[in-house]
């Protein structure tokens, strides 16, 4: 085992949260090392020439190496778990910048009622409103706690959007349901699409407020916190699953990581696969044990460990960190690790074909579409509806590419076998219409349940012979009712858009791990108010091992109907501010609060 000199902080991974932490901690004079399982990648030269659907969208060049370490899944505890052998449901990243290098850029603040979830719904609908077996809980932070950090992140990285609520004043054209913002978005929204405008007009006729997506993609040139200017979006159409060749997409690669490196106090070691967190005989962390790029085992001692991997990796590294002091893994002395795993309801509810119209959907990106929040969260009265939760409606985003896109064209002739089959002359004719359809998709909440959780798999291992993480998850009746209600509203909007043919998905499917839905896996190392309901305190500090902090969506107690990245980033800012204010690094083994 190769032992390195001790540093102040070592991080698992070098993505969004590790980059944010490295930038802030090195600015305070601390020495930070990040261990990244993937390789180095930079806008120049790595993203300069990547407009290749086969290599990036179909083959997942920027994704985590599933061939070395996968995940297993089962719908419930009565069925066996099997590994995800090829990419399906979700797309964690690898390489410098992590999933934050290939994300779509859609950048939401969660709604104020997403934070006081249980108390809010109990107040409004009574304690019986919650579905059977649910394990939702209030977040240990409020929207107003996070508001300054949401704002800071938006200014530091350059977020584009149309402000809907400025200090309580509702503004035309934005999201009227968003929480109050102390400052407007620093940049205007991205350019709209034909499809997005068509959806917004139809939704408006039915009384909904559709608005342009907020985005971590610059709509104009912007000088971010690093002092370096970055170009605005060039709408090239290669965005999600691609790195941005002009640096318009915000990620830890654009400002945080270069700033940290500039201090000379930050080191990133790529091709280093973290095995576990080491502890001393009192149970405190002493650093990280990892497989180095040289194929040998290394130990990086550190006073503090930040667990900054993807949601699923965070849970697994805690569970694999077994010692005499923590026989069930770090953070798991009270069997809390793996609880409240959630995953969004995300997919098209209705697809409309508009024969003879072209929407140029291969330009732009997801963020160039429109959204409506009228059916999200608790924006509408749920009394008598038989479910809690909601979902946003989304339509008109870009970056449709042909190999994936031709499969989504609805059959105009209806369901006759000849028309519906994906081959032959009818299929070829339909391929020509690949740019003539629009869908209305839902991004819905995923409440937490006792029976949906993460643990270690008994049968399957990674390339080093260590157990894979096992996901036990399925949708429940509550989400089925929620989905069916919102799908009918989406179909009504699609009818106003007046397509020549329509293909609906009016009922929620059984969850499956085969189809891509979203990379919005959340929970597993949730934060809370005390060790009986959580793995960490409200700063992500692990209750039973206080010199370990978790960062990322693994902290979310349950899953609002929105992309998680901005809240992931804001929580990192919040935790780092907490460490500063509580002078944590003066006594890195004490709980702060």
């Amino acid at each position: 085992m190769i032992e390195h000199p001790e540093v102040d902080v070592v991080t698992v991974g070098a993505g969004w949260t590790a980059g944010i932490a490295a930038q802030q901690l090195t600015a305070q004079g601390l020495d930070v090392v990040s261990l990244e399982k993937g390789r180095a990648q930079w806008t120049w030269p790595d993203f300069a020439h990547n407009h290749d659907e086969l290599r990036f969208s179909e083959r997942g060049e920027m994704l985590h190496e599933i061939e070395r370490e996968s995940w297993t899944w089962r719908p419930n505890a009565t069925l066996p778990s099997l590994p995800m052998r090829q990419y399906g449901s979700f797309h964690p990243g690898s390489n410098l910048g992590g999933a934050g290098a290939h994300w779509s850029g859609v950048t939401w603040r969660f709604l104020p009622t997403d934070f006081d979830y249980v108390s809010h719904h109990t107040d409004r609908y009574g304690a019986n409103a919650f579905p059977e077996g649910h394990s939702n809980q209030d977040w240990p932070v409020s929207y107003m706690d996070l508001e300054p950090h949401y704002t800071q992140f938006e200014i530091d990285t350059g977020i584009s959007g149309q402000t809907g609520n400025l200090n309580g004043e509702i503004l035309e054209g934005g999201n009227p349901f968003e929480g109050p913002r102390s400052r407007p978005y620093p940049l205007p929204p991205l350019a709209p699409t034909r499809g997005g405008l068509k959806f917004a007009e139809a939704a408006g006729q039915l009384g909904y407020s559709a608005f342009r997506n907020p985005s971590g993609i610059l709509s104009e040139g912007y000088t971010d916190m690093s002092g370096e200017p970055r170009a605005g979006c060039v709408y090239c159409g290669f965005c999600t699953r691609y790195g941005c060749h002009v640096d318009a997409k915000s990620s830890a690669l654009t400002a945080h990581i270069p700033m940290a490196l500039d201090t000379g106090r930050y080191e990133i070691r790529t091709r280093c696969y973290v095995k576990h967190i080491a502890v001393d005989n009192t149970g405190l962390a002493t650093g990280l044990v990892y497989l180095g790029a040289d194929g040998r085992e290394h130990f990086q001692p550190a006073r503090t460990v930040l667990v900054c991997g993807y949601t699923l990796s965070n849970t697994r590294v805690l569970l694999l960190s077994v010692s005499d002091a923590h026989p069930n893994g770090i953070g798991n002395d009270r069997q809390q690790v793996g609880r409240n795993y959630t995953y969004q309801v995300l997919g098209p509810m209705t697809v409309g074909l508009f024969e003879g119209e072209r929407f140029n959907t291969y330009m732009g990106n997801t963020s160039t579409g429109h959204a409506a929040y009228d059916l999200a969260g608790d924006a509408f009265d749920h009394a008598g509806l038989g479910f809690i939760g909601g979902g946003q409606l989304m339509s008109g985003g870009g970056e449709r590419l042909p190999i994936g896109g031709v499969q989504g064209v609805p059959a105009p002739g209806g369901d006759s076998p000849e028309e519906a089959r994906a081959w032959g002359q009818a299929f070829k004719d339909r391929m020509r219409d690949w740019d003539s359809y629009l869908d209305i998709a839902i991004q819905g909440e995923s409440p937490a349940y006792e029976f949906n959780r993460l643990d270690l798999d008994p049968n399957y291992t990674d390339f080093l012979g260590r157990p894979l993480l096992r996901i036990t998850f399925d949708f429940t009746e509550n989400e089925r009712r929620m989905y069916a209600y919102i799908a009918q509203r989406a179909i009504e909007i699609m009818d106003v858009m007046n397509p020549t043919a329509r293909q609906d998905t009016p009922e929620l499917w059984d969850y499956n791990i085969a189809d891509y839905q979203s990379t919005h896996n959340q929970g597993g190392t949730i934060f809370g108010t005390d060790p009986s309901n959580s793995v960490t305190n409200r700063y992500g500090q692990v209750w039973d091992t206080p010199n370990v902090f978790c960062m990322g969506a693994s902290l979310f107690p349950q899953n609002p109907g929105a992309n998680p990245t901005q809240t992931v980033a804001a929580l990192a800012y919040w935790a780092l501010a907490g460490m500063r204010e509580h002078r944590y690094f003066d006594a890195p083994t004490e709980l702060i609060g």
Binding site: A48, G60, L82, L261, R358, N512
Partner: protein, 292 residues
């Protein structure tokens, strides 16, 4: 449900050890020697350069059959090119010539799953995880074979099915209607003779694999050997790899730009690099950054 999840039924396949088709009694295709290193799936797509030589993986008979199948999946002629004119089978041949032909990053460790019908789980057996057949589709791709294995096995069984139904004829000799009937039979995988001949490989898995590769060969960047002369992109009206569009172009219902492949896209370096740096758009590789 997407076509991709259709592949889930390959969960009924177990390891090569329980696939009798891997022995030599199933016809010529199964006898194609295994070549190259044992499969370690690679990220990205690494396809050998075209050399103008004959095929790399497929023998001439297999090539002809696949081309006839591709012609029914995306029909065409010189005036309205389809899969044959696009060179889709060249794409497949070159793909299969690489690393066991892995089409995607794949976790390949056992045990493997098999489906069972009815309420009773079969007795425990080493290396097999039994799953109710009607649940298997939800688990996605569960095959233990490489794509090369699946082409070898699938093409041999396909030839056998055609011969059994058409008095020893080959697929290339059939009429278009007869060819479509065969393809429908393997796509649906519901006829007894299909099931029996393909067993234990589900026929629809083979169909789906070929179908997916034909679509890729038609619409992927031409540098991979298909989509020749960008006929696929011209058909659907896709401009291919472009550096930029303007906000006005996003809203233009009559927008039309000739397609270009990645090979035609100017690199962002040299003079171009200076231009883009003047716009502040391109970051240098960081001087203190990690190198690997």
């Amino acid at each position: 449900m997407s076509r991709r999840s259709f592949l889930a039924v390959t969960g009924t396949l177990a390891t090569a050890a329980v696939v009798p088709g891997c022995t030599t009694d199933r016809g010529a295709v199964d006898q194609v020697p295994r070549e190259g290193p044992s499969a370690v799936p690679q990220p990205g797509v690494q396809v050998p350069e075209a050399t103008g030589a004959a095929t790399r993986f497929l023998n001439p008979d297999q090539y002809a059959i696949l081309e006839a199948i591709a012609a029914r999946i995306i029909p065409g002629d010189e005036d309205d090119p389809g899969a044959v004119q696009a060179g889709c089978v060249d794409y497949i041949d070159r793909l299969l010539a690489t690393h066991e032909g892995y089409p995607e990053r794949t976790y390949t460790m056992g045990p493997f799953a098999r489906g069972y019908e009815g309420d009773e789980e079969p007795p425990a057996e080493d290396g097999i995880i039994w799953v109710p057949a009607d649940e298997l589709e939800r688990y996605g791709w569960q095959a233990g074979q490489t794509p090369r294995d699946l082409y070898r096995m699938g093409l041999a069984r396909f030839q056998e099915l055609v011969a059994a139904r058409h008095a020893g004829a080959s697929f290339v000799d059939l009429s278009e209607d007869e060819q479509d009937a065969i393809l429908e039979a393997i796509e649906d995988n519901e006829d007894d003779d299909v099931d029996e001949i393909f067993d234990p490989l589900p026929a629809d898995t083979f169909f789906d694999l070929v179908h997916g590769h034909v679509v890729e060969g038609f619409l992927a960047d031409p540098m991979y050997g298909g989509n020749q002369d960008m006929v696929g992109w011209r058909l659907v009206g896709f401009p291919g790899a472009q550096r930029a569009y303007s906000p006005e172009e996003m809203l233009d219902p009559n927008f039309n730009r000739p397609p270009q492949s990645l090979a035609m896209l100017p690199m962002l370096h040299g003079a171009h690099r200076d231009d883009t740096q003047a716009l502040g758009s391109v970051r240098r590789r960081h001087p203190n950054g990690p190198i690997d």
